[in-house]
């Protein structure tokens, strides 16, 4: 059997994003782990990918022609575990073990024993180079699958990314797609007060990438843009997705606090109620 993308479209991916958010809230709360804000931020992007756009096959996780997806912002691992479980790579019930003693669902995403996860990350600035290697190899072999790498904005401080950005443009890897979850908040403070990325689009363009900017919570926009890749023939593509950290839970949105804080007790109940009502 071959893998297929699923044509659920924006309605399906919106429902999936909601489930990913609820899973991630439960997982981070019960395990007492951090980074729920970073998962909520990227949930819509991940839902569009796993909800249809990625050509993958849960029955055959190693299918050679599958699209590759790398979560370079590995601290948002809970969101990927939720997505691969929802996509059918592993039982949804396993999500309950996240961050627990003896579990292989680590706080930062790991591939070992987790079908559907391509690469273990957690130290930032690793995913794009590995993705570039996969894209380079696919092109050498004349294979047509694509490689998607999801980065955080704070992660773009890492110099290794810029090595990969140079390389991918030089080799015209138009089968490589970077998506930046640009929520404007990093670990301790806003991006603009830490290491300013702007003019961000101009940087990628100057490095030779095709660039699209969109609202990273707008499913229709995500479907439209990610269905028409590469953005420019002969160039790697980057989608700068403007997002809201903590999206979907009012008191978590746009706060530095919820990069690390865990929702417990009444905060958990309020967050869950908001997500369920969304």
């Amino acid at each position: 059997m071959t893998g297929t993308s699923r044509a659920d479209g924006p309605a399906g991916s919106r429902a999936l994003a909601k489930r990913i958010r609820i899973h991630a809230l439960r997982m981070t709360s019960s395990g007492g782990s951090a980074h729920v804000g970073a998962v909520l931020s990227m949930a819509d992007i991940v839902a569009v990918l796993y909800g249809g756009l990625l050509r993958v096959n849960p029955a055959e996780p190693g299918w050679p022609e599958r699209d590759r997806f790398i979560l370079s912002k590995g601290h948002a691992g809970a969101g990927i575990y939720a997505a691969v479980a929802e996509r059918g790579f592993m039982p949804v019930a396993k999500l309950k073990t996240h961050y627990q003693d003896g579990s292989d669902l680590s706080g930062h995403v790991s591939h070992k024993g987790i079908p559907g996860v391509e690469l273990s990350t957690g130290s930032l600035g690793h995913g794009l180079s590995v993705g570039a290697g996969m894209a380079f190899g696919a092109r050498l072999d004349g294979r047509r699958h694509r490689v998607f790498v999801l980065l955080s904005d704070g992660e773009c401080d890492e110099g290794s990314n810029w090595e990969a950005i140079l390389f991918a443009a030089h080799h015209r890897l138009d089968n490589l797609v970077a998506i930046v979850d640009y929520n404007k908040i990093q670990s301790l403070a806003p991006v603009k007060d830490t290491i300013e990325l702007e003019p961000f689009r101009a940087k990628w363009e100057a490095f030779g990438w095709g660039v699209a900017e969109l609202d990273g919570h707008d499913h229709a926009a995500l479907w439209q843009t990610l269905s028409a890749l590469p953005l420019q023939p002969g160039r790697p593509s980057v989608v700068i997705a403007h997002t809201t950290k903590g999206k979907g839970v009012s008191f978590m949105e746009n706060t530095v606090l919820w990069h690390y804080r865990t929702a417990k007790g009444e905060e958990f109940d309020r967050a869950l109620a908001e997500l369920e009502a969304s």
Binding site: L119, S120, H126, S129, V130, A132, G133, F136, A164, F167
Partner: protein
Amino acid sequence: MRDAFIARLTLLAERDPRIMLITGDLGFGVLTRFAAERPRQFLNAGVAEANMTGLATGLALDGRIVFTYSIANFPTLRCLEQVRNDAAYHDADVKIVSIGGGFSYGALGMSHHATEDLAILRAIPSITVLSPGCLWEVEGATEAIVRTPGVCYLRLDKSSAGRTNADGETYQLGRMRVVRDGNDVSLLATGGILGATLRAAERLALEGISARVVSVHTIRPFDADTLLRACRETGGIVTVEEHVVDGGLGGLVAETCLEAGVVPHGFHRIGLRAGFSSIVGSQEYLRTRYGLDEAAIAAAGRAVTQGRVVTASTPGRVGL
């Protein structure tokens, strides 16, 4: 060693299209033939070792056997986390080759002194660590790592012991080689310093001391059997490495002996005990300067056979 490696890799790459060689913009004149003959198996990643190692992982995860190539500490320490997290954790078939072990580039200064790599690489789980001492071992190691799954580190040296193999000998990764027999003391060497170690054994022979010389071309997996036999059969152990003594061959031998409950009759580690070398010079000069040369190895062997404790280390020099 470098030329022997490239020549063998070129042959292997002709036969096996999965093999790929990525350089971090080094190897002027040396890689030209490989690049010209096998353009689809060659890539210059530029001066970007972190990216080079990530690329190698990505290529390896999709079925290639990828050699990363650079000098001194660039393909190892510069990108150590990529080696650990990307290549090693994923059991990717990435083969890291560093030209210039120890003081091979002694005159270039501290940045080019590769004197901690063995200890650091062997601390990372699952990496096979090779440090051949002669050209035949380089060829054998190059072939062996193509067949060995996962990450391998091949440390190559400017110096070498020439060719030390016996007729018909087969290279075995992970198996120490007794390249000279003897019973009074065992000199265990890793890397090109095997040459100086063999010369030290010659010198001792003139004094009537019979030194066994063992080439430890594989640091991991480590051949405890040959080591423990040397402990039991000879009058003591001297380890020889162009590397810091912390965590290198000497440390590995000490750990292995103690855990096995086998205490050698005498023991000394030849290696670097000082801080960084801000002094430069040829490989030969720096070996003499830091007590790693033929005379120092012979002196340690002599002292061990006489049951003397070798007192180590005035700063900058192994004192004997």
